[in-house]
């Protein structure tokens, strides 16, 4: 009998899962359907470059449909809810999709309205986010008239997609304003709810050092409670204030809205509780999740989704064959961190091992870890091609394994 796999979300995770599964199974064995609310697939790492005129919104968006292989059905509509009890997905257009296996890949959504005043006066005038194509384009426009003052980059609360992106933004802003000759008239401040600039200690030290070198201020333990766009004030829950002329905010993130309408599927924030090594949801054995949609303690990043996808495709195969699942995913993440001036850092880590210095993918390199280099920057640029042509179609990337490797990494004393 034909098995039905329904995939919620046509972004990085949903697309690469659909394509990988389509290759594994013939159409007579498995039917695959992907659901998404729109037909715009955004290459999200590209959003970072838009505000500085280094990328155009049109260049980083392609139709979702065209990234899916033949033999995959695409439903362009909102998801109303999932009924776990009877294995059905109810779509907003009235369609009901029965499934044998459900894959939740609907990512994270921005919820700026949860922060008092954030979308009030000044929103998209002096308060921006570069986490959406529209926001990134509006910020590019704002940079054309910005003549200096106080630029504040603010993370409202964790978790967020790509926890290094706000730091990269500060680095690129430093570079951009230098090129325009107004850096000495601009103060750049990064305000974060964390107790350092990044979540992992060794990388956080390296990045803090770079922030100091670039004279970027750091406000830690700042729990944003309220934004006053008209007065240009960021106010924390414990009453601290940070003044700004231009605010670049990373709003709080939640899971997709339908998760909240699907009893038993998500947690309070709409993320799907997921088993960290098998990627099976805790809700039901035939429901799996990957990417930003999960509650897993790893970065919400494309590399994570990609490594998860490679292993999850194998686990779904095991599940449909009635075999035990493999505990194969180790939390592997791999991120380039743009530092401006045509350079970047690279970090590679998992649940257990924090980002360490060394070389990647092997001791011979070619790419240095936790150190600025031009090659890392070129790697980041080249990745966009690999994303559309290799990662989404579901091809393995040569030399990059889904499991993290210690080869090339140099363990460091954590108290050093």
């Amino acid at each position: 009998m034909v098995k039905r796999i329904v995939i919620l979300g046509g972004g990085t995770g949903g697309t690469l899962m659909a394509n990988r599964l389509r290759k594994t199974y013939g159409q007579s064995e498995v039917e695959i359907a992907v659901v998404d609310r729109d037909d715009r697939h955004v290459y999200q790492p590209g959003l970072l470059f838009v505000p500085f005129g280094l990328a155009d919104v049109d260049e980083i968006i392609r139709p979702r449909r065209r990234q899916l292989a033949n033999g995959i059905a695409f439903h362009e509509t909102e998801i109303d809810h999932v009924s776990l009890a009877d294995d059905l997905v109810h779509l907003a257009d009235g369609t009901v999709l029965p499934y044998d296996v459900l894959i939740v890949a609907s990512g994270a959504r921005l919820a700026p309205e949860e922060t008092e005043g954030l979308t009030g006066p000044g929103w998209n005038e002096r308060v921006f986010t570069f986490y959406t194509p529209e926001g990134a384009a509006a910020l590019a426009e704002a940079f054309t008239w910005f003549e200096g003052g106080r630029l504040v980059v603010n993370i409202v609360d964790m978790p967020i997609k790509c926890p290094v992106a706000p730091i990269e933004f500060a680095f690129l802003a430093d570079w951009h304003l230098r090129e325009r000759g107004i850096r000495d008239r601009t103060e750049i401040v990064l305000a974060t709810p964390l107790d350092g600039c990044f979540t992992k200690p060794i990388a956080s030290r390296h990045l803090t050092h770079l922030l100091e070198e670039k004279r970027i201020g750091l406000e830690v333990d700042f729990a944003t409670g309220e934004v006053e766009g008209d007065r240009g004030r960021l106010i924390s829950y414990d009453g601290r204030e940070i003044a700004f002329d231009l605010l670049v905010t990373v709003p709080v993130h939640s899971g997709a809205e339908y998760v909240g309408r699907s009893p038993g599927l998500g947690d309070d924030l709409g993320f799907v509780p997921t088993s960290p090594h098998t990627l099976q949801s805790l809700a039901r054995p035939n429901v799996f999740a990957l990417g930003d949609a999960t509650n897993l303690p790893t970065s919400k990043a494309g590399s994570v989704t990609h490594f998860e996808g490679e292993l999850l495709a194998q686990n779904i195969h095991r599940f449909l064959a009635g075999e035990p699942l493999a505990e194969s995913y180790d939390g592997h993440a791999n991120c380039f961190i743009e530092t401006g001036f045509g350079k970047a850092l690279l970090i590679d880590f998992n649940y257990e091992t924090e980002p360490l210095p060394g070389r990647f993918p092997t001791a011979l390199g070619p790419m240095p870890l936790l150190r600025e280099s031009r090659l890392n920057h070129l790697g980041k640029l080249m990745f966009q091609w690999m994303y559309w042509h290799m990662l989404l179609p579901g091809r393995d990337l040569p030399g990059i394994s889904p499991e993290m490797r210690m080869q090339g990494k140099k363990p460091v004393e954590t108290h050093a």
Binding site: A223, G225, S299
Partner: protein, 103 residues
């Protein structure tokens, strides 16, 4: 009945109980004092109980956003009740392990 002293319970370097079963209301009051909270009001208890119950039921301590949505006490008030880090302090007073930092 003998009084439980803070020195009778096993705590980590940050003052969190290693074993939630060693906790009782007296311990909670003493940890609160140590953190500069003079009196645990019903509003404090509402948060501490929610925190502790959720942890015991799910194995995870709720985040500050979850507390704000589900404990019945808005985030602004949480900061007034438990200065600096409400989720961490309420966990400490509630006798559960330090909440995992976000990624």
């Amino acid at each position: 009945m003998t009084t439980t002293e803070l020195t009778d319970v096993d705590r980590d370097a940050d003052g969190f109980l290693r074993d939630p079963q060693q906790w009782n209301a007296e311990i909670a009051v003493q940890i609160a004092h140590e953190a500069g909270i003079e009196e645990l009001t019903p509003r404090h208890w509402q948060v501490v109980s929610y925190m502790r119950d959720t942890y015991l039921a799910t194995g995870e301590a709720p985040s500050i956003r979850t507390l704000g949505k589900a404990s019945g006490v808005p985030i602004k008030e949480l900061y007034a009740l438990f200065p600096k880090g409400p989720a961490k302090l309420a966990a400490r007073i509630g006798g559960i392990p330090k909440p995992h930092g976000c990624i």
